[in-house]
Subunit: 580 residues, 2 copies
């Protein structure tokens, strides 16, 4: 019996007892020196089993999606604590705020993407990635069905199941056409890198077609009519980029048709960029007016055909159709079918969008989290819990809440119901005592439950759902990974606010969004920005601020260098108009 076969038998004998087997292995390694080392090498098969058995004690975390939310979650997750699997139809993270720049070649598509495998490779511990689409979430059995999205003749099954202990849904939203006929078939979108590349090719197609011999002027004009539907930041930025591309590059290369080009921006609201400050809206409208971009506000698109776009002018009730060469649809987000199906399973079927609690846990599911555009936080109203809060705060159970008692719990209340913090700020209330003032503005030492209810009655009006932006998604991903990393600690020492409707404290503080401002590039090296503290900035210097912020926010040094060199290249050589 060789040493090898002895160890094999011994390890087999201990097979059911991983800890004992491990002890044996350690003992072998420490006592046997070189021989034992070489044996343990040959015996890697059974040793592997032992390791596996330890590994499988790790909780399985499955992450769906590699957008802002998913990637931000993965970047900060301590992967050594979990068995992490990532499923996404795209094997890269894309810096989506630069997509409008990709449509015109200001920045190349490759410069804004980073392979997700590169990002997860740097994690502490192994993270497995599968390029596939999750087509079904089976919440009751804690597993998902995935399907490979590779259209090819490669062999092997396209479908597979993955089991999870925790599921993180971060698959983003899909385009919302508002059921407008013809939009899906005849419009371009700006959600994926491929969309941007397709738009770039189509813009060139429009020019190449318009310049061919034998077309009437009317036909040339139709082919060179670029329509953008949606006056939000994406639509506005695309219109601005396109205008710059025409002015700075294409006009020189297609001089024969340059006077026939037109850009229209259609917005259903009364102003473009209406989520921004009014000053920014009007600055943008004036700039577009000077640039010759036709901004049509108060227009609702009724249908889109392959040749024409039909819309209704709200004020007059008129319906008109105009021929187009390219329509980019950039308005609103909708829920993906797989999420819709999941919502039906967990009793959220009548909601429009998946709801989570303030800790980003899906309502109705213990072990599923949802972050980014695919979900919304269903913030609890303070008025729903007003009696419980009063009761908990009224420590001496006197039926009256004193200023002192309120001071003791106010931080917990603000943490649990952030709308109260916003309310205090909006009303310029510096101190809690101000909250307890009566209707005439006189200070009170204490209030009863009715007085307390009245004092807080307008607080819930400050509740706002978060916008579907990269900033929110990234913060949510990062927040959730912190919770995952500190799950054990926080279980022992809860970090969150007091539970008013129960006992003890919440394990974590709820997610709180911090707004760092928002940009809207307007073309011609000008941008508008809304910065924290209601600061508004417009013009050339804002564009430079935009450059520096976007360069610094890149996910890797590779993309940072590439994006900056793309900008430099554009300044020196212009944009490329090759149709590839």
């Amino acid at each position: 019996m060789t040493i090898f076969s002895f160890f094999t038998r011994a390890s087999k004998a201990f097979h059911g007892y991983p800890v004992a087997s491990k002890l044996l292995l350690v003992c072998t390694l420490s006592s046997g020196g070189l021989v034992a080392y070489s044996e343990s090498q040959s015996d890697i098969g059974s040793a592997g089993v032992v390791v596996d058995q330890i590994e499988t004690k790790k909780k399985k975390v499955v992450v769906l999606g590699t957008g802002w939310a998913g990637t931000s979650f993965l970047k900060d997750l301590d992967a050594s604590r979990y068995d992490v699997r990532v499923v996404s139809p795209r094997n890269y993270f894309a810096f989506t705020p630069l997509l409008p720049s990709v449509t015109c070649g200001t920045v190349e598509a490759r410069s804004i993407v980073e392979p997700i495998r590169k990002i997860i490779k740097k994690r502490n511990g192994e993270v497995q990635f599968f390029e596939a689409e999750c087509v079904k979430i089976d919440a009751s059995n804690n597993k998902i069905l995935c399907r490979s999205n590779i259209e090819s003749n490669l062999v092997g099954n396209d479908e597979f199941f993955l089991e999870y202990d925790y599921l993180v849904i971060a698959i983003g939203a899909q385009v919302n056409t508002f059921n407008t006929p013809g939009v899906m078939e005849n419009c371009h979108f700006l959600k994926e890198v491929e969309d941007a590349q397709k738009i770039r090719r189509t813009v060139i197609d429009c020019f190449e077609k318009a310049i061919l011999p034998g077309l009437s002027e009317e036909e040339r004009r139709a082919n060179l009519h670029f329509v953008v539907v949606g006056g939000g930041p994406t639509g506005v930025e695309f219109a601005a980029e396109l205008h710059d591309f025409l002015e700075e590059d294409l006009h020189k290369l297609y001089p024969g048709v340059k006077d026939l080009v037109k850009i229209s921006l259609i917005q259903s609201g009364d102003h473009i960029l209406n989520m921004f400050d009014e000053r920014i809206s009007s600055f943008a409208e004036q700039k577009f007016n000077r640039d010759g971009i036709d901004v049509q506000t108060g227009c609702r698109v009724v249908s889109v055909s392959d040749k024409e776009i039909t819309m209704k002018v709200k004020s007059k009730g008129e319906i008109c159709s105009i021929p187009h060469g390219l329509v980019v649809w950039s308005t609103g987000v909708g829920t993906r079918p797989v999420v819709k199906d999941f919502m039906e399973q967990i009793g959220q079927g009548n909601r429009r969008i998946l709801a989570t609690n303030e800790w980003l846990r899906v309502k109705g599911c213990e072990n599923v989290y949802a972050i980014g555009d695919c979900a919304t936080i269903d913030q609890r109203k303070i008025m729903e819990d007003i009696s419980a809060i009063f009761e908990a705060a009224d420590e001496d159970k006197s039926g009256f809440l004193t200023v002192g008692e309120l001071r003791d719990v106010i931080d917990d209340i603000i943490m649990r119901y952030p709308q109260l913090g916003l309310y205090l700020t909006s009303k310029h209330l510096a101190d809690v005592t101000d909250l307890l003032k009566d209707s005439e503005g006189n200070e009170r030492k204490e209030v009863d439950i009715e007085g307390f209810r009245l004092a807080l009655s307008h607080v819930d009006s400050q509740m706002k759902s978060l916008p579907a932006t990269a900033q929110v998604a990234a913060q949510q991903g990062s927040y959730l990974s912190r919770c995952f990393n500190r799950r054990d600690q926080s279980h022992k020492n809860p970090e969150g606010p007091r539970r008013f409707t129960g006992s003890g404290r919440h394990n974590f503080q709820p997610f709180l969004y911090k707004h760092f401002g928002q940009f809207a590039p307007l073309g011609g090296e000008q941008a508008a920005a809304e910065l924290p503290g209601d600061w508004v900035s417009v013009g050339h210097s804002t564009q430079w601020l935009w450059y520096s912020v976007y360069a610094s926010k890149q996910v890797s040094w590779r993309t940072r260098v590439l994006v900056v060199s793309d900008w430099t290249r554009k300044f020196i050589f212009g944009r490329d108009s090759s149709r590839i």
Copy 2:
């Protein structure tokens, strides 16, 4: 009557007489100063007509294709002498020698393309470009039918005719499958930029598919088997690039399947790179052997299905099939249908490839030229004209050719029949007198016709058809543009050699190809090169020579900067494996 209306009337009165009208305009400009200047501005309409009438006297040159030949022709053409129109399905020039680098992301696709409109914009005079494919050449009516290749809903007729006085065919060749079943459907090619981009995506697909859960090892191996058919420079370079991509980048990102990857290179001949020096062939084979690239020489591919490639081992006569994930077919070139159809019209129907004379004029057509891969030069044999040459050289009509008489015409003969020059070099004959030596090697003062015929009898064996390379195409384009630019001068003062079968001289010297050497990058920062003068160079330094030559040969400063920065980027950050 204002000055303006006077000039308007005057110009109308002279409308039928362009020269007079032009004189009037010149007189106006020189005498009237500022007023007259402003008048001539207002009067631009009728002045435009005059210019048009002069312009239309220019000969119409239509160029088909924007590859190496077409672009090189356009770059050097004096566009002010002709009315130039360019038709190509691609609105850019691509630096094709870097296509294998694009397949693996060593260089980006955008870095090797330059919009053709940018190139022609710099020409002296207006050149019109139409993005369309020539589908029919009507040689008898001097016109071509073109069809736009834009697949879209844009309005306007897709087809149009163009008339020409001179037609330059530079549309290149298409892939030659040698009628092997399944190749068109199941193989990738490496002729266009899109091909390279598709290969890049497919390589990533193979890895993403192979790493999915639930595949057997056999299936993973099949998906990761990359097959290259053709051991020419393109096939070899692609295999080398792919090997580097796997070794340097993908192995790190897909550690689970890295041992299952295999690259096979299938070559029907006995050696790869068999158009190069033997030393290079064996160096390449040894390097590939060390790298683990499976080189299978003496194998002919019989058929390709979506899952398997079937080939016949020539030596054993065996037929075997192996599963594959990706097959790149890179062997031989074939004639495009539109050229085939044109050949039928002009009586070249039984030829395999379009033939031109030594001045690149299509045989059987007065005003059609063909350059690049789409045509071959049908070099006239010296033996066909031997009597005429003898007669022309024998100035005193003595029936004997003296050394002196031969010296007088030898330059013309070598210019007209370049194979004679090659023959002299290959036989190390320094002087013409050597040519006249008798069979025993004794010098002769003179020879009769039979002696002359005997002396030159082996000369035609030196005739070689030129390879289908970028170098040949570029030189042909450049040569032809010089001929076009000097058409008038050379008509008055012919520059070419003496006509032996007629009187006078040829207008131009025939096209003479100058070989500047050829590279074969072999991966791992090593390359092989065959340089002029039978120099052979292999190894790392040759790779650096390759870098510098390829950087210097770029068509524009933009692409030069981009290509060099791509190389730098690869060294620092590696290649991108995002599937876009």
